[in-house]
């Protein structure tokens, strides 16, 4: 009797199970489609010296040098509504996420990775997200985060360097060129500058919290205003370095 009942119920159960599975599969695939990340990867020809400008809204930016005379742009787009349309004008590659997505609403994060010739000028900014730039030897490296995000500039040799954020750490590892200008600014974060011991520069460093550590670069020629601001020359002072931090430390390290 019991066996008979089970036999009767099994087709019903089987169909219920099938319908349930189908519904679950549909729901999962719909969810996956909604959250699907887009990947793009494009290559652009370029001479040995190019300029890259990237204006992101939200997301990380990684720029690194490679041994090819071309630019490779890879991006991960969180939202399917996001749109990226790089433009190449002569030797300049321009990516303007803000302009490309005007009127599209929230487009989530877009994470970029750019591989460029080592002599490229790099000018990148994002409203929110980390910026990493490595191995660039050129005229300009500018990394600007409008709000929060860490900035890491590694093995940089450029005539003009700008790194600025509101919340987040800034790390510079590289060298100061003679006649160059270097500007580092954060409102809440630690700024660390790692340079060769024989660097020559004129420094203006200000931190109201008095957390300025010049270490090996300190000399008696520095003028200070009760530890909150230091002005002075290291060596012949041929390059100009400005470091401002509102509520974090400023540290100079020797390579």
């Amino acid at each position: 009797m019991r066996v008979k009942l089970l036999t009767r119920r099994s087709p019903v159960r089987a169909s219920l199970f099938a319908v349930g599975s189908l519904a679950t599969l549909l729901a999962i695939s719909a969810g996956l489609a909604a959250n699907a990340q887009q990947q793009i990867s494009k290559r652009y020809p370029g001479g040995k010296t190019v300029r890259v400008e990237l204006r992101n809204i939200s997301g990380a930016i990684v720029v690194e040098a490679w041994n090819k005379n071309e630019i490779r742009l890879s991006a991960t787009l969180e939202s399917k509504n996001a749109h990226v349309e790089p433009k190449q004008i002569n030797d300049c590659l321009l990516v303007d996420v803000m302009g490309d997505n005007r009127g599209r609403g929230d487009i989530g994060d877009i994470n970029f990775k750019l591989q460029v010739p080592a002599n490229s000028s790099v000018d990148v900014e994002t409203r929110r997200g980390n910026i990493d730039v490595a191995n660039i030897r050129s005229g300009l490296v500018r990394a600007y985060v409008s709000s929060e995000g860490d900035i890491t500039l590694t093995n940089i040799s450029a005539t003009h360097v700008v790194a600025q954020n509101i919340i987040g750490d800034i790390f510079f590892d590289g060298e100061f060129s003679s006649g160059g200008t270097y500007e580092f600014k954060s409102t809440k974060g630690n700024i660390t500058i790692r340079i060769p011991g024989d660097s020559k520069f004129r420094l203006v460093a200000a931190s109201p919290t008095k957390q300025i550590k010049l270490n090996d670069f300190w000399n008696n020629g520095f003028k200070t205003q009760d530890g909150r601001k230091y002005v002075g020359d290291v060596g012949d002072g041929r390059s100009s370095v400005s470091v401002t931090n509102f509520s974090g430390s400023i540290t100079f390290l020797r390579k």
């Binding site: 300029r51 809204i57 939200s58 004008i89 300049c92 803000m98 609403g105 929230d106 989530g108 000028s121 000018d123 409203r127 929110r128 300009l140 409008s146 709000s147 929060e148 509101i166 919340i167 600014k185 409102t187 809440k188 200000a206 109201p208 205003q225 909150r228 601001k229 401002t244 509102f246 509520s247």
Partner: protein
């Protein structure tokens, strides 16, 4: 870069003829100058509108007659302006004096130079005695000027900040919750920096570091508002 140079370069920027160096300098100026940035936005909108609607307009009937009328109006205005300038072209005393050609002999020239040297020396001595005796009042008035100057600057900046704040408030409903949190968090950090600088300036109105920090934090606040008002 000043505003005049900037506005000349804006045309090149819109036409796509600007050099990379100029563009960088221009962008730096535009981030700091609301007036120029507004001009840039207006021009960009006009050019974009014209490009989008190119060919959608029909020429007015009897186009030649219209141009003729416009030219007549311009020529009539120019004629009346020239007449007005001719009427007001009588030389004033100052312009006659400035346009006068002075011819002096060597003794006259030397006597004039000696008179000027004597006058300058007398003025300097009198000025030094006067300010030397009134040292304390000058210092206190300078102190008053510094603090007023800072207050004025803060007030002016606050007006601009309020404008951009309104723009942000209009748009922030469209942002994602994460973006709203980021903005608020960063704004709190900047407000804290502004408040700390103002407190320090209240204690010591001559504090150069606090003044620098106040200026920079107000600039940062403005920059943050402008960046996020676009979202």
């Amino acid at each position: 870069m000043n505003c005049e140079q900037c506005q000349e370069l804006i045309h090149d920027l819109i036409d796509g003829r600007i050099s990379q160096r100029d563009e960088f300098t221009l962008n730096t100026h535009l981030q700091e100058c609301l007036g120029c940035d507004s001009v840039r936005q207006d021009l960009t909108s006009i050019v974009a509108f014209c490009q989008t609607h190119r060919g959608e307009y029909q020429a007015p009937p009897n186009e030649q007659a219209l141009w003729l009328r416009i030219r007549n109006v311009i020529e009539a205005e120019n004629g009346s302006r020239v007449a007005a300038q001719t009427q007001s072209a009588r030389p004033s005393f100052v312009s006659r004096w400035l346009n006068h050609t002075w011819q002096l002999s060597l003794p006259q020239l030397m006597a004039s130079a000696a008179a000027i040297v004597l006058l300058v020396s007398l003025t300097t001595v009198v000025g030094l005695r006067r300010w030397g005796n009134e040292g304390t009042p000058v210092a206190s008035s300078a102190q008053f000027e510094v603090s007023t100057d800072v207050k004025d600057r803060v007030f002016q900046r606050t007006q601009t900040i309020n404008y951009w704040n309104q723009r942000v408030e209009m748009n922030r409903a469209r942002w994602s919750p994460a973006m709203r949190e980021t903005f608020d968090r960063n704004m709190r950090v900047i407000d804290e920096a502004v408040a700390n600088s103002l407190n320090e300036l209240n204690r010591n109105p001559h504090d150069e570091v606090s003044e620098q920090m106040l200026n920079e934090s107000l600039n940062d606040k403005l920059a943050l508002l402008k960046e996020f008002s676009d979202l």
